[in-house]
Each structure stands twice: as C-alpha cells, then as structure tokens.
C-alpha cells in the first residue's frame, strides 16, 4: 500500500507559489518603508509583476485542485484537526486570490496602472480615487498580515505532523524520491 500523494503538478505549483509569495511578502514589507527613489519604483514594479504572476499561477492551481482531489487526510487525525486543516487551506486559497486583486485595484485607484513587465497593460477597473486607494492599501496590508499568520500556522502544522506525529502529511507534498522512506512504511505498518 503506497501513501496517497499530491500530483506532481500540485506539488510543483505549491512550492513555486509558496516561494513566490514568500519573496513578495518580503519585498512588499521592505519596499513600503523606503523613501522615494528609483530603487523603490523598481521594487514596486517587480512586486506588482510578481503578484500578477502569482495570481495567474493560483488560478491554474485552483483549476487543478477542482479537477484533482487532494489525497485524503490520514485516519488517525482527529476530526477537529481535519476541519481546521481544511479551513486553513481554503482560507489560503481565498487570500491568494484576494491579495493580488486588492493590490491591482489599489494601484488603479492610486492612478498607477499595472503594466505587466512594462509591456502588457492590465486594464484599470477603477478610476483614480484617493480615498478608495487608501482604503484598498489598508485592505491589501491587513489581508497580508492575516496571510502571514495563517502561513505560520500552516508551516507549524506541517512541521508538527512531520517531526512530532511523524506522519506523511508533509512528505506527500514533497517531490517523490526513488527510494521508499522507512519511517513512512513503519507508520503505515503500525496504523
């Protein structure tokens, strides 16, 4: 009996998006406190382009997830934990969509169009409006703070499963290796 795993595509998208979000969070938090300079303008542009890329990847990921069910959680997990895990995952999906959307609308409301890599203009859905721009900036910010908290919980849970519960939760999201993992086999053997 082999451990149920995520598909290769799902694994690839998970880590790619995760890495990009990590970088975008860092750049976002860093750039906002810079005083205005050409470097700041560059950071803002790259941040926006990365955000648009993440958004596109997240859409692909959602489509993939809708057509490829996630492997079921292992039996020994208590019901409340499953519910929390699932809620966390849905919340992360929601934030991965809402944050770039807020960023894009914020930019439009502030009068700075998003032009993907300086070549592909993304339409402004909102006209320039200072107050709305400030509100959307706050929305973008607090959604990000929320996501940071949830990502911490997400990583914490994954590590707890791996190192304390010693189950396969983390491993089934890791790229498959040729050799089988003894701990995994033992785990299955004993359950």
């Amino acid at each position: 009996m082999s451990t149920p795993r995520y598909t290769r595509v799902a694994i690839g998208l998970h880590w790619l998006i995760g890495l990009m979000i990590f970088v975008s969070l860092g750049v976002g938090l860093y750039m906002v406190d810079l005083s205005l300079s050409p470097a700041k303008l560059r950071f803002y542009s790259w941040h926006k382009w990365a955000g648009v890329t993440i958004f596109t990847l997240v859409l692909v990921r959602c489509l993939w997830r809708l057509t490829h069910a996630a492997p079921p959680l292992p039996d020994p997990m208590p019901r409340w934990q499953r519910m929390v895990a699932e809620a966390t995952h849905y919340l992360l999906y929601a934030l991965m969509i809402a944050i770039p959307l807020a960023g894009w609308l914020m930019s439009s409301a502030k009068g700075f169009q998003t032009v993907y890599f300086g070549v592909l203009p993304i339409p402004d859905l909102l006209a320039k409006n200072k107050d709305l721009g400030e509100t959307l900036t706050l929305i973008h910010r607090y959604l990000n703070y929320t996501m940071i908290a949830i990502i911490c919980a997400h990583i914490g849970a994954a590590l707890k499963h791996h190192f304390i519960d010693k189950d396969d939760i983390l491993r089934r999201m890791l790229p498959e290796r040729k050799a089988s993992h003894p701990t995994a086999m033992e785990q299955i053997g004993t359950s």
């Binding site: 300079s37 050409p38 470097a39 560059r42 700075f112 032009v115 070549v119």
Partner: protein, 195 residues
Amino acid sequence: MNYLTRTFVLIGVALAANTAQAIEYSAVQADKSTIAFTSRQMGVPVQGRFPKFTTRIAFDPAKPEMAKVDISIDLASIDAGSQDANDEVVGKQWFNVKMFPSASFTSTVVKATGAGRYEVTGPLTIKGKAVPVTATFGFKVEGNNGIFDGGFTLRRIDFAIGEGPWADLSTVANEVQINFHVVAAAAAPAPTKTK
C-alpha cells in the same frame, strides 16, 4: 449717387476688415485652462498637472504671426500623481522650488501650419535653464471664447529635472508629454492695445 455708394461700401469693407483683425483672444479664463503632463515610470504612464499658472496671451487667428504667449507656472503647486511624488519633486534633485519657484515660457515665433493648426516656439525656462521648445496647437472658437489645445514633449534632462539617482532614465523616462488647454475670451476691440 454712385460715388456715395462706393464710399459707403469702402467704409463698410474697411470696418469689417478692422473688426476681423481686432478679434484678439486675450482674456484668459484661468479656471477653464489646464496644464497637464504625463510622465512614464517603469514604462507606466502617470498623469500629473500644474494647477497654478498664469497665462498672458494675445492671439488673432487672422494674424497668428503677431501672436504672443507668456506662461508662468507655480511649480510648488504640482500634482505629480501621488503625495509621495509631490513631496519629492519639489525638492532639490527635481524642481528645487525654493531656488526656482516657477517655470516660464515666452513665445518668440508663432506660425500657422495648416487649417486651425499652429506652432509656437520660444525659450522654456526651468531651474534657471532656458531651452527652446516648439509646441503645436489647434485653435478653435466656441462662442466668445478661443480655445487652444496643444502640447509638446519635454526632455527632463535638458533642465536637470531629476538629478542624482533620478538621472537614471530607465525608471523615470526622459520624455514627459506636456498638454495644455487654454481658454481665452475675445477681448473687446478697443482696449486690446493696453500693453
């Protein structure tokens, strides 16, 4: 009788010609006039404007070559698209408004280039540097008002607008598109020649 008629006709023609020449658009309507600009940041067009400026204009479409334009812009009033940008561009590296509070343009040559199209050339002075620029504009009459719509491309480096790190043209482009919309009412024929 023939003689008398001819005299009247001549006087009539002369009067008509006179009034045609005297329609000079010079009463600038500041509240209806705008000077806007579009800069490019990382390839993205960003709109801005100069809300405070004074224009003196004397333009008779029948004699465009006699036209005169004088514009003075209060640079501290700039709206460069965001508060951050406004605070930045009044500073030393950009307009340095403490030293150079205004930008000015004085026409030296105005000429017609086609139906309702004109060209105005003259020195534009910003930050103590005078550089000749040529703007094209269209002119049309709406009621008692003459409307001037035109623009030109300014190269900010010619005036050292954006020094130090900002001289990097890959983040903020050299070319800044300036667009003006000036509304001037026709002045009454008598007091046109006050200056």
